[in-house]
């Protein structure tokens, strides 16, 4: 056996080829009695059907949470979840919050320093002093 194969696993590049939306579930919790849920109840009645139709990739659960402030919870592919309290918010503001959760990747927010992250090797390679005309080092 002159050469052996080393077993590895290919790594995913989400968006190269297929794109998988990272938000897989949104939970909407509301209270029927409390005033802080007024905007949420109105959102659920009037805006949620169109929101769900526009985002079929997301499973949507609506459940009451009596005597509590209304909350939107997003569950993500990487296993994390994000919750936003939407008390006293207007339906449009809640819609923006739901869109925020939809577009999030589920990761903790962190500052990106490089504009591009790539798995591909650099075309020019890694510089070293032994190539490119410096023959006598």
């Amino acid at each position: 056996m002159t050469v052996q194969g080393i077993r590895t696993v290919t790594s995913a590049r989400n968006g190269v080829g297929a794109f998988i939306l990272q938000c897989k579930r949104l939970d909407f919790h509301y209270c029927d009695w409390a005033g802080s849920s007024r905007g949420m109840v109105s959102f659920l009645k009037h805006h949620l059907p169109s929101f769900a139709k526009a985002n079929p990739q997301i499973e949507i659960r609506v459940s009451p949470r009596p005597h509590k402030h209304p909350v939107i919870k997003g569950h993500y592919v990487n296993g994390r979840e994000k919750a936003i309290c939407v008390r006293n918010l207007e339906p449009e503001q809640i819609f923006n919050k739901a869109n925020l959760l939809k577009a999030a990747s589920g990761e903790k927010l962190k500052r990106t320093k490089k504009p591009i992250a790539s798995l591909n090797e650099s075309v020019r390679g890694i510089w070293d002093p032994y190539h490119g005309g410096f023959k006598s080092v």
Binding site: M1, T2, V3, Q4, G5, I6, R7, T8, V9, T10, S11, A12, R13, N14, V16, G17, A18, I20, L21, K24, R25, D32, L44, K45, L48, P49, A52, P56, Q57, I58, E59, I60, R61, V62, S63, P64, P66, H67, K68, V77, L119, N120, E121, D128, P129, Y130, H131, F134, K135, V137
Partner: protein
């Protein structure tokens, strides 16, 4: 530590029970644990008429008889697929073709270990999907890199469509695994019978078709692996005779690992796409989800004696015998010298490598030259499966040469 607040805690637990008629509603809610997009129970009459409820038929219509019979089924009933929000979301998340119905997608999520009935599990779809996956991947590898040695092809196949990759893909698709299979489980979960703790999942398989199978110490050649083993060069189970169907039913009685169940699911999805939406959709799905993943083929090589292999290669191809020359060096007498050595054949440079000793640099240069040979890729690669389309241009044979160095 957070202080307990008994009053609030008790109110949140007890308050639903105070509601009138709550017991019936709670039972319905219990049956509907995973079925969503609706409020579990309408709170006021005014709200019950709102469009939120109109999306899905109210759960009251389901008779209690069906709820009882669900528990006796090994896998969810077919009509549950239409009511599962998880399943519809998965269908949309993968951008599956509309011609692939939710019922088939639900079937791909039922492993053979969960439901031994071949009409309801994904075994047949997975067999088709596995054949398609391995065909497309091997075509891609062999046409793109026609000189790859067989062991590296096995490793690359494992990297692209091996069980580890497929189970990683299931996680990236956001598919959740059911704890235990059953008729009451939401059809959006992947259902399989888990292996009991203490059972070794990696028991060596024996293929009775293979000669001298019982000789454990004998070396297994690559050629025999091509003939008798699977696409990853691993021993394979003997194909099950349909007459011994009873035997295959309890094949998975002990359960399967999550890795096996996940890979069967991914294969079954591809098989289902092929059946329902046709060949172009299956190819597109393969390109988008499998070939688009990142793999550096040059990392898959492990050479034992690169210098010997290279001289054999040059002798076979009628090149001048290879020799090494120092291209550049620094600090020969220091603690950390660096040598850059090139390997030449005649006047042409075959490869170069650097190292902290002359032997290391020469060995790495030989590895680089051999990789230069093996990783040759022709221009304008055309795969054989492009001939399946209507009105395809006439086929031009792909590049074939001796390829692998055999010592």
């Amino acid at each position: 530590m957070k202080r307990l607040q008994p009053q609030r805690w008790s109110s949140s637990v007890l308050s639903p029970q105070v509601r009138a008629g709550c017991r019936l509603q709670r039972r319905i809610q219990h049956g509907l644990r995973y079925q969503t997009t609706t409020t579990p129970f309408p709170v006021t009459e005014a709200e019950a008429k709102q469009p939120i409820q109109d999306l899905v038929p109210p759960p009251k219509k389901r008779s209690s008889r069906s709820a009882i019979s669900k528990h006796s089924l090994p896998s969810p009933p077919v009509k549950a697929a239409r009511e599962s929000a998880k399943l519809a979301a998965l269908h949309a998340r993968l951008y599956l073709p509309a011609r692939l119905p939710l019922e088939t997608l639900a079937r791909t999520l039922v492993d053979e270990s969960a439901d031994p009935n071949p009409d309801f599990n994904n075994e047949s779809l997975a067999t088709l999907g596995h054949d398609l996956l391995t065909q497309y991947t091997s075509e891609y590898l062999i046409c793109t890199y026609p000189r790859l040695p067989m062991t590296v092809i096995f490793a690359a196949m494992y990297a692209y469509v091996g069980p580890k990759t497929l189970s990683a893909m299931v996680k990236e698709w956001g598919v959740e695994l059911a704890v235990a299979p059953g008729g009451e489980v939401d059809p959006g979960h992947l259902q399989f019978k888990r292996l009991d703790p203490g059972v070794n999942p990696n028991q060596p398989l024996k293929n009775p078709n293979r000669p001298y199978e019982n000789e454990a110490t004998w070396r297994r050649s690559i050629s025999s692996k091509i003939v008798y083993d699977d696409v990853f060069g691993e021993p394979v189970r003997a194909s099950v005779d349909p007459r011994q169907q009873v035997q295959s039913a309890d094949r998975y009685a002990a359960g399967v690992t999550p890795e096996q169940a996940c890979s069967q699911f991914v294969r079954a999805v591809l098989g289902a796409i092929y059946l329902h939406a046709g060949r172009p959709a299956a190819k597109r799905f393969f390109e988008q989800h499998f070939i688009s993943r990142h793999l550096n083929i040059s990392d898959l090589f492990n050479f034992r004696e690169p210098a010997r292999d290279l001289s054999r290669l040059c002798a076979r191809e009628n090149f001048e015998p290879p020799y090494a020359k120092i291209l550049s060096e620094t600090g020969r007498l220091s603690r950390h010298p660096v040598f850059v050595v090139g390997i030449f054949s005649g006047k042409d440079k075959l490869g170069e490598g650097s190292g902290s000793s002359l032997l290391e640099a020469r060995s790495r240069a030989a590895v680089a030259s051999l990789k230069g040979w093996y990783l040759y890729s022709p221009l304008n690669v055309r795969l054989p499966n492009s001939m399946e389309e209507e009105g395809a241009a006439p086929w031009k044979p792909v590049h074939v040469d001796l390829g692998e160095v055999i010592v």
